[in-house]
Symmetry: D2
Subunit: 316 residues, 4 copies
């Protein structure tokens, strides 16, 4: 009898060849599975929540494909989601054309307007007299040049384009900012967190009580008094009334770590609303270092000590 393996579907901002797909390419579990290109983050998350997809890859920081605030607000308000992985993609661009095209032949360039603006420096220097033909995406630019639907000889596209289409790369790294990196996360429905790897991060969205001064400090102390470092903090207005904020946080470590579990308890008691987005391996695979005094066994020992106190057992 043959075992039928169900193929899993992964939603991503399409079409094929986007930076988001480059992030999805890094997910070993997604190799050979279904990919579902969508138009925006809302659609990708809806796919997950409504069961059309197992997971969605979405940009969460420094995206040039747009929508980071939207993503953060969606994660803050849609219950039932969990981040299970983080991926980094270097953001840069290539200038591509149909095979045989030369740079000096290029007078019109197809490009997504945001990408176009980011290559302004290089274009001004190397092709000062070109005209711009807008494209619907970083991939549509190349497709339009190849199939003749866009009146241009070359296209600005992500480096991955050459793996999907038969193009010549006329120039590489043409973006003005050569060190830009977009951070993506892979999101599923709520599930048990992946096992700790020692190089993990925990993502949260925390609302502050609005009636207490110093509540931001009080929230951060929940981490600092347990030796936990934050790698991301962003305030976002909640939007219901003036002066109310939520905070998007990435904290070093995993909810299975005693210190993180204890910090989450503190945060939960403190905050009128906290969303646990997940504990998952860091994209950079950097082992999280922390002072010995926040190690798991210190927490266990303290609990033993308290138990002895309460039972009246003699000390030492």
């Amino acid at each position: 009898m043959k075992r039928v393996t169900e193929r899993r579907t992964y939603s991503y901002l399409g079409p094929a060849g986007t930076f988001t797909e480059a992030a999805l390419d890094q997910v070993a579990e997604a190799w050979g599975q279904e990919r579902r290109p969508v138009l925006n983050v809302g659609e990708a998350l809806a796919d997950v929540l409504e069961g059309r997809s197992f997971a969605a890859m979405i940009a969460i920081e420094n995206s040039i494909e747009g929508g980071v605030s939207t993503t953060q607000d969606a994660l803050a308000t849609l219950p039932g989601l969990r981040i299970i992985g983080e991926y980094l993609v270097k953001v840069n661009f290539v200038l591509v054309a149909a095979p045989g095209t030369k740079l000096e032949d290029v007078t019109s360039i197809a490009a997504h307007p945001v990408a176009y603006a980011q290559c302004h420096g290089w274009l001004g220097e190397h092709l000062p007299r070109h005209s711009h033909v807008p494209a619907a995406s970083n991939v549509a630019s190349a497709i339009g040049v190849l199939d003749g639907t866009l009146p241009a000889q070359a296209a600005i596209a992500p480096p991955g384009i050459a793996e999907h289409y038969d193009v010549d790369v006329l120039a590489s790294e043409i973006g003005d900012n050569t060190s830009a990196v977009t951070r993506f996360v892979l999101v599923t429905r709520t599930a048990t967190p992946p096992m700790p790897t020692g190089a993990d991060k925990t993502s949260l969205i925390v609302e502050l009580p609005n009636d207490r001064p110093g509540s931001l400090l009080e929230m951060l102390e929940q981490f600092s008094t347990r030796g936990i470092n934050l790698s991301l903090i962003e305030s976002r207005p909640i939007g219901d009334e003036l002066g109310r904020y939520r905070f998007v946080l990435d904290a070093d470590g995993h909810v299975h770590d005693e210190r993180m579990a204890d910090a989450l308890l503190g945060i939960r008691r403190f905050s009128p609303r906290v969303v646990f987005l997940g504990s998952y391996p860091r994209a950079d695979r950097q082992i999280v270092h922390y002072p010995d005094r926040y190690a798991d066994d210190v927490f266990v020992e303290a609990r033993d000590w308290l138990r002895d106190l309460l039972s009246g057992a003699p000390e030492e």
Copy 2:
């Protein structure tokens, strides 16, 4: 003898009709002055630094025209800039067409790809069978429809478009998120801060010392121990080495307030690098409230007290 008044130039993300221009429309001092549309934030800031413009209007939060991270990084690294004003623009879209066009005539829609993605919900409901013609900007979409260079019957554009072009508005508020607001700032070369209005904010970019745990808390205490509230905090990786961050901060109050000046001294002593971006009136004109014990006269009284101590004058 007639006095010749020099006209000032204001750079903004063009062309005319963008959300950025809608922000510039709010600046009374800019009425009747020169406007210089540019392609991106870098160009706008260069105009200011190199003297081509008196000021630049740039998006700093929640922009759908892109580039907020770029803006923050530019302000963090380019010396010589100062924010002098803040402006809010409601982000929503209208569907426009040449006069006489009816919604049922529309089969193709010209739109900047980011704006197009944000109107996905409305379009799916009202024009499920349309096709998308990409445009280079939120204004180029409408121009292309009017002058026939884009093969579309209607365009997605900012509400302000109707003031610049002879169009019919087929539908309003077609964006998926009806409460989105973009925050803009007006930037000049370094100058004395505008006078306090009582409803001011102060913007800073602060690097944390990287060798000390708890340094984020220590920075925030500089504000909290002077009764100063923060309305924005965002971490940004500095990029030179792993684990180094800078923070973009908006603090309630003006550098002419004693408590803010004192906090800035504390921040300056603490931080390896701090950029004062400016003190300027808040867009929402909300008066800043703070506990009496942080009033200016409390600071003055304390200095008098210390002076008496040092001189050996008897107390009380």
Copy 3:
């Protein structure tokens, strides 16, 4: 068959009639039990540790019978002790004499030297020409006058003296400081804490790690981030090397309170050495008030929430 009840012994700084005995008089459980007068705190604690006494009453704050530092250091270094109750005694003095003596007959006054110094003002005003006959204790003064072994007509003694000896009170409240109060604690061997009454305090001695700046603040945050108020804090040099301190702390609440148990866990993890001295009813019977957000059920709810997170259960 008759049930034999073992009588318990209570050690106290004697002899009968001292302020310490006045504290012991407040202990209902000690009525009708054995009392064992001792010479100093070390002896009283040794009685408890070596089983000669069930409990010892010792002065812990503001004592005029001496030895508060000694007491604190003893509690910090002797393992196996537990505070089970707190008692306040108003410290004031009376001038007593054999029945029939009149104030104008008094030329010599018997007094413990410390008590004598504290009545300096009254004596200067009312008996400017008296001479001082030193006595070994606040009670020995009166005994010596009555039995003629001290060459004096009157004695300075605690108000309770009149209950033990046949004396006339010539003057009351003759101490210079009429509002002084000594705080006493009743100490037993380590045992389960008495049940919470809602008006409890918890006493600790905590050593700070000496190699970290800000460690005092970090210790105090363990209490403040759980809404716990401190009613006593005193630094004491540990004495083994320069710059090492231990802190004597009284915190509002009982170790059976969730917030206190959680704070103790934090303190234990933080401190190289912490001595739990006990949770016991406050002498003033003031109910401990704390913000609702630190109530027991908030802690329980947070643990439930964390358990759900870890199991992958859907939120809300």
Copy 4:
């Protein structure tokens, strides 16, 4: 013509030979000046305030001659005093007698009752059958033995006794605690602080605002955020209403240090009442170490930076 030098008077807890006088012996400026023995701390401070003495030496920590709480409360409430020096005296005792007396001749021992209690261990071991004759002070004990007014063969006294009286020392270091040290301060009327030596401390008494939770932490942050270490902290109930506290603080450094002056400004703004008791050389002459980032020039540089900001001068 001869210049007449006025002799200064120093008050101290007498009579000659007390531990307090041993502290006064350490004051070079007091050598050859008048000494005025008094009965208690109140009298000593009154001498200073009313001009009878230039200065008073008083015990402030760990005194066995009594009165530390009284001293702290007096300094907190009497305006017009200033500490100008700190002195440490090792607290131990000798057993003395008239020349020629042998230990085996001793059956009665004259002693101040507090000192007597502190030698309990030694006496129990070496003279188990002695009787106690109370003395009015640690010096009166020896005088009484020498002049025959006290019925004892030996006296417990401070080690300095042998310099003032013709006695034989029968035994040394007979106190139970061989490492006890009393801390004294020299107090004058309000005056300019003595010049910094690099090894200074600053003493303060600070009342906390009673209506704000976390105010103890907020006070301590004023020091920690300027890199200032505390070597003493003690809470004292203010006494006017329940739950109000004042804190006795010793902070490392001098009010002439920028970081200390800045911290004092913060404390003054924060506290409803703060008493500056003085900046003066530490008794242990330990140089105060602090992180470079709290050095004077860092404060000066920050002020220059702020001045430039306000004037609109370009950065860097």
